[in-house]
Amino acid sequence: MKKIKVFLAVLFCKTVRFFAKLLGRGSSLPGALTLKLFPNILKDITPPEKIIAVTGSNGKTSTVELIAHVLIESGASLVYNKEGSNQIEGVTTMLLCDSTLSGKAKSKIALIESDERFAKYTFKYIKPDYLFITNLYRDQLTRNGHPEWVYASINDAISDDITLVLNADDPLVSTFGTDRKALYFGADKLSFDKDVNDSVYDDGKYCPVCNAPMSYDYYHYNHIGSYNCSKCGYKKPETKWTITDASLEDKKLTINGKHTIELSFSSIYQCYNSLVAFAAADIAGVKAEDAVKALSGYKMQSGRIMDFTFGKAQGTLLVSKHENSVSYDQSINVVTHDKNDVAVLIIVDKISRKYHTEDTSWLWDIDFEKLNSDNVKSIYLAGSYWGDLDVRFSVTDIPKDKLIVCDSVENAMAKLKDEENFTYVITCFSDKGKFLEIVKKGEV
């Protein structure tokens, strides 16, 4: 009976996937329909021998892309949710389409990107051997509540048989490892670290364990760094995989003092993503030299950084995430570290692709103050939320004559056409389409 059920479910899922692909539909639908007919099907299949999962607020998709690249380069037999459908439906599609009709996985390793709020459903039947948690930030709070709320949700997904692989530099994430099987990754003090957290908010000020004030030896960015609690002694755990040296100018990082990776795009994020990929490769049995070789010079496919030309304007699109201040802060960091004079265009037109909200409180968590930098010559603010951007910028010390407020993306583009400085465009997935469409047309 079970055999027939598995046979039908796999066949059904593969068939739907085939037609869904023809119709240009995503990878979530086949799994969703299969789960409607066979709700507990994940319990009855034989998954790959080794399962590695990745969750957290930021960097899931990029990290999974990098890990997959390293494993595939080293010849591993791998299945992963390439299209980023990271809830149980997408994972079901991925596993069933990788199965024989008797329900046995064809691949030896499964790499699962998992939405942080839905991990508890996905992991009910498919238990990862290793679960990476990248970070927990203020991210999409209109649906996620807040980081501690997400923490509780991930906590429900963790069982004793999972080995956790945690970001030691994130004080909230590292506490998942208390009294559990856990390995840690992180970065030692780096040349660009800071002694103080100069962001508009500080989620590392108080100990996540006992609420007493914490002190930091150094901050890599925001509240990510080396912390220790003045009262209970909770501190950054020892790391197994460590960035011992990194230079954003020379675009390289060194892991565990001896493995140096050349980066194609230099950001602290890319350093962490590469570190996680190195650790995952180590866990999967890939030799360190092979991992370094695969990671060096690798260009991300996920399209978060794109060059463009529009009229006189030339620049780079830095895809950031609305409702995620750390992601914006990273983009601002790229802008202010450019040694040349630059312009910036910030677009907030639609807050989310997936749900409707008009909440713009997250704009107040972004370090826009830092754009008050000599190299930033003009700042275009655009999109249907131009008013919210305008008020937010009005409380910064940025000189008013640098601000160009435009009531639509089109109007901003009409002005941008004559921009002579290199231009960084900072916006979200939900708004990049509108921008790129105008760029493609070449005119407004």
Binding site: T142, E148, W149, P213, E358, T360, S361, W364, D365, R392
Partner: protein, 213 residues
């Protein structure tokens, strides 16, 4: 005119950019010719005298941080009560206003004693977050208020709500929200509510100035 503002627990009851309220109100007061002095007090402070201030503000935090601030604020509840009785302008947004009632039943089954300024009770759960954009009508403002609510609690026995909801998500079972007594305003709207509602911001600024005259 010199106006003294107290921002309570600005370092962690600031989950959704609530400091924006203080920045905008400061700007509004300055535009009206006031000189604004901003003071911040947090859990490491051992003395707070609310009588010193013309306006007292507190924003939203996580549930655990709310408990953390409640435990600290209890030490100064008599001073806060006197400030409220004296008609000081006070604004508590997000879950911070829920500290002002009788009790809070937390999701993990504890009963926390509130600051007892009012008789309402709060019940929290951890199964579902109630979130969504709202519009509301308050009797002291011509314009509708807009905002976003992000909470996991229900409040009972509020005798004088701040406003009546005119638009809300289906998941919200309540028709009225917040509290308004004397010159104290409490609302579950998170984030910079005064930024989105210039008329409310102006109303509070006028109130502060008239109180001082």
């Amino acid at each position: 005119m010199e106006i003294k503002i107290l921002h309570l627990y600005s370092d962690f009851m600031n989950l959704y950019g609530e400091y924006g309220n203080v920045r905008l109100l400061t700007k509004a007061l300055e535009d009206k010719g006031c000189e604004v002095i901003l003071d911040k007090k947090t859990v490491t402070d051992t003395e707070i005298d609310f009588a010193e201030y013309d306006f007292i503000y507190c924003g939203a935090g996580t549930e655990s941080k709310r408990t953390f601030s409640l435990n600290h604020l209890k030490k100064f509840k008599d001073s806060l009560k006197s400030a409220f009785d004296a008609g000081k302008a006070i604004l508590f947004t997000g879950n911070s206003w829920e500290m002002l009632g009788k009790t809070i039943n937390t999701a993990d089954g504890r009963v926390l004693e509130g600051l007892n300024l009012f008789g309402f009770t709060v019940k929290e759960q951890n199964a579902r977050r109630l979130t969504g954009d709202i519009k509301a009508k308050a009797d002291f403002l011509d314009n509708e208020l807009i905002g976003f609510i992000n909470k996991c609690s229900e409040v009972e026995n509020v005798t004088s709500p701040l406003f009546t909801l005119t638009m809300k998500p289906e998941s919200f079972s309540f028709e009225t929200e917040g509290i308004h007594e004397k010159n104290l305003f409490g609302t579950q709207i998170v984030g910079p509510v005064l930024v989105k509602n210039p008329a409310f911001c102006n109303y509070i600024a006028e109130l502060i100035i008239n109180n001082k005259k």
